[in-house]
């Protein structure tokens, strides 16, 4: 053990002497060592490119009904087969993928903004406000996620649909509710980061040089607590995609003319015995997206963990 510790120490010195250009480059190098995460990144990027450019290349309409071609398996004219109305599944999945990924990213942004704001306020101000905010966070953590999501969608969807139109209304509702129920871990993370960073020498130095609260917060504390937040953000995208698919799968998400992946699965589940392809393709799309994101999150956690700078 002792020799190993010594060799590690030597390694640390030489690593410091090499003077790695920046923390981010170093993190990027460590990220690239995680092979599965690299595979995941490639899959995820191709998915994003496919849903963004796919509908421009694959010009089948998503809602052209053709009873002659109904429930057909994969073929050259319909690479992913058709559903019970003879609609082309590839076109529907490309279009639906846009919505699924957009929901994931938008909900993540909401969760991260709320979480960072609350966590930063709590950690920076401290005292009574900190106590109250953390009690609220704890309470939100013990809310039952999916039942509450279902309750809110149930109570508010008709009004939003009427005021904002079916597509935008449901999108805003789902994104807001998913994001609004997932900020708590981020808030705790940011608060914990702030509490430990606040006592570090460089922040103390900034404070003694007379840096105003605003500058301490945005110049020193926030940038240095972003590592874990980035990891949480990655995982949140996956969680939000699953939450949206779950809602749509239960028939309470997007309406049938907006074929998100979960919605296609919902329509497919009663035809499993004679059209399994209809369920397998969207399910696999969700699975691959979530798996890629999870691997990326895992690699980011390793890459951004300063304690692991020396390791592997």
């Amino acid at each position: 053990m002792a020799t190993r510790g010594a060799s590690e120490a030597v390694f640390a010195v030489s690593a410091a002497a090499d003077a790695t250009p920046s923390l981010w480059l170093e993190a990027g190098r460590r990220f690239r060592r995680h092979h599965l995460a690299m595979v995941g990144s490639v899959i995820l990027i191709s998915m994003v490119v496919a849903v963004l450019t796919g509908p421009l290349v694959w010009r089948q309409p998503i809602n052209e009904i053709d009873f002659k071609a109904k429930l057909k398996g994969p073929s050259w004219s319909h690479p992913l087969g058709t559903d019970d109305l003879g609609q082309d599944l590839l076109a529907r999945m490309l279009y639906g993928g846009r919505i699924s990924l957009a929901v994931g990213i938008a909900a993540m942004l909401i969760a991260i903004s709320i979480g960072t704001t609350i966590g930063a306020t709590s950690g920076f101000v401290g005292g009574k406000l900190d106590n109250t905010l953390m009690r609220i966070t704890d309470m939100f953590l013990s809310l039952p996620g999916l039942p509450l999501l279902l309750l809110i969608v149930y109570l508010f969807r008709d009004t939003l649909r009427k005021t904002l139109g079916p597509e935008a209304g449901i999108f805003i509702l789902i994104v807001a509710v998913i994001g609004g129920l997932r900020w708590m871990p981020v808030a705790r993370l940011v608060r914990a980061q702030f509490l430990s960073l606040r006592e570090k020498e460089f922040v103390e130095a900034a404070r003694s040089l007379g840096a105003p609260a605003f500058r301490q917060m945005f110049r020193h504390l926030l940038p240095n607590s972003m590592g874990p937040v980035l990891v949480a953000a990655t995982i949140d995208v996956a969680a939000a995609i699953i939450a949206e698919s779950t809602l749509s799968f239960l028939g309470l998400g997007f309406p049938p003319d907006i074929p998100t992946w979960g919605r296609i699965l919902f329509d497919a589940k009663d035809n499993l015995d004679f059209a399994p392809h209809w369920a397998i393709f969207p399910g696999t799309a969700i699975f691959l997206t979530v798996l890629s994101i999870n691997y990326i999150g895992d690699a980011l956690r390793d890459a951004l963990d300063p304690r692991k700078v020396l390791g592997r």
Binding site: L141, L146, L151, L252, A279, I280, G283, F287, V290
Partner: protein, 319 residues
């Protein structure tokens, strides 16, 4: 221990009050009116509707309505279902045992799978077994329950025709046959839920054992000649379970979400499928009550986790 138990239980009361306030506020802020149907019905004059509103106190300020609602809930008066015309509490009591049995068995399955696999992974990190377990764990928690459920149905019910894919509460057989049929129809829902939980639990367990196993007291235990089995079970696993319990407790709300999905796929007659059915039927009293029951279940399992925590680490309960 009893003092610790009492304290943990008392903490629940303000949390429960907070949660019920959140639920009630959502309901009160929601547009829509329970008497909306009457408004569109030409046979009901507007005065009757107004009188009904006044009678049920719908025009009172929100805090008063909240207080009235809490008092009614505490007294056990949960209202009645608009659709089936049955008292909500009887409806929930019919369905709750099924949910508890499925969830409980899934939890047992998850523990039985995750604790040994996670421990073995951590004993030989980066070995072939560890890599296989890690891969399966990643696949396991990336596969959403609704897709696993459909894949299971596709494989075991449609392709192999081994298991029924609809859960029936009214099996007519008796004796052993009754148990056998129940077991057969529970396999898939329990497996879907249990394996999903087991996936993340394996990761937690692996990380926790890795942290514990290099501590000095484990070396001491080995050095004083304890057998490897006793060292592992009594010293390593018990202490590794402490952080695992916390992490699993944080996941409990998600587990209930998975239960709703599984009940819906396999048509298990539990409170999850009751929630979906009443949402689709616009049955507000049942929707409210089931959401509230789910909140209580989450709190109760958090309490159970706290107690388990106190038992695993006696220092906590003597604080």
């Amino acid at each position: 221990m009893s003092k610790y138990f009492l304290r943990q239980t008392l903490i629940l009361i303000p949390v429960l009050a907070g949660i019920s306030a959140v639920l009630f506020t959502i309901l009160a802020l929601a547009p829509g009116d329970p008497f909306e149907e009457l408004a569109t019905n030409p046979n009901v004059p507007a005065e009757v509707r107004m009188n009904l509103r006044a009678k049920f106190g719908l025009d009172d300020p929100i805090p008063i309505r909240y207080a009235r609602w809490v008092v009614a809930m505490v007294r056990g008066d949960w209202g009645f279902s608009f659709v089936s015309r049955v008292n909500v509490d009887t409806l929930i009591m019919q369905r709750l045992p099924v949910t508890m049995v499925v969830l409980g068995s899934a939890l047992v399955l998850a523990i039985v799978v995750a604790v040994p696999i996670g421990t073995l992974s951590a004993l030989r990190p980066y070995s072939l077994f560890d890599q296989a377990a890690t891969t399966f764990a990643f696949i396991g928690f990336s596969l959403p329950t609704f897709f696993t459920g459909l894949l299971f149905i596709l494989l075991f019910s449609i392709h192999l025709d081994w298991l029924p894919f609809i859960y029936r509460a009214d099996i007519s057989a008796t004796g052993w046959r009754w148990y056998w049929e129940h077991l057969r129809q529970s396999i898939m829902p329990v497996a879907v839920l249990g394996l999903f939980q087991a996936a993340s639990m394996t990761r937690f367990m692996r990380a926790a054992v890795l942290d514990v196993i290099r501590l000095d007291y484990v070396n001491t235990a080995r050095a004083k000649g304890l057998s490897e089995g006793v060292t592992l079970v009594k010293h390593v696993v018990r202490n590794a379970l402490i952080p695992v319990v916390t992490l699993v407790a944080l996941q409990i709300p998600g587990i209930f979400g998975g239960a709703i999905v599984t009940e819906q796929i396999f048509r298990v007659p539990g409170i999850g499928s009751l929630l979906i059915a009443s949402i689709l039927a616009n049955d507000t009293p049942v929707v409210m009550a089931v959401t509230f029951v789910f909140s209580c279940l989450v709190l109760l399992s958090n309490l159970a986790a706290d107690l388990l925590y106190g038992w695993l680490d006696p220092r906590i309960s003597y604080r």
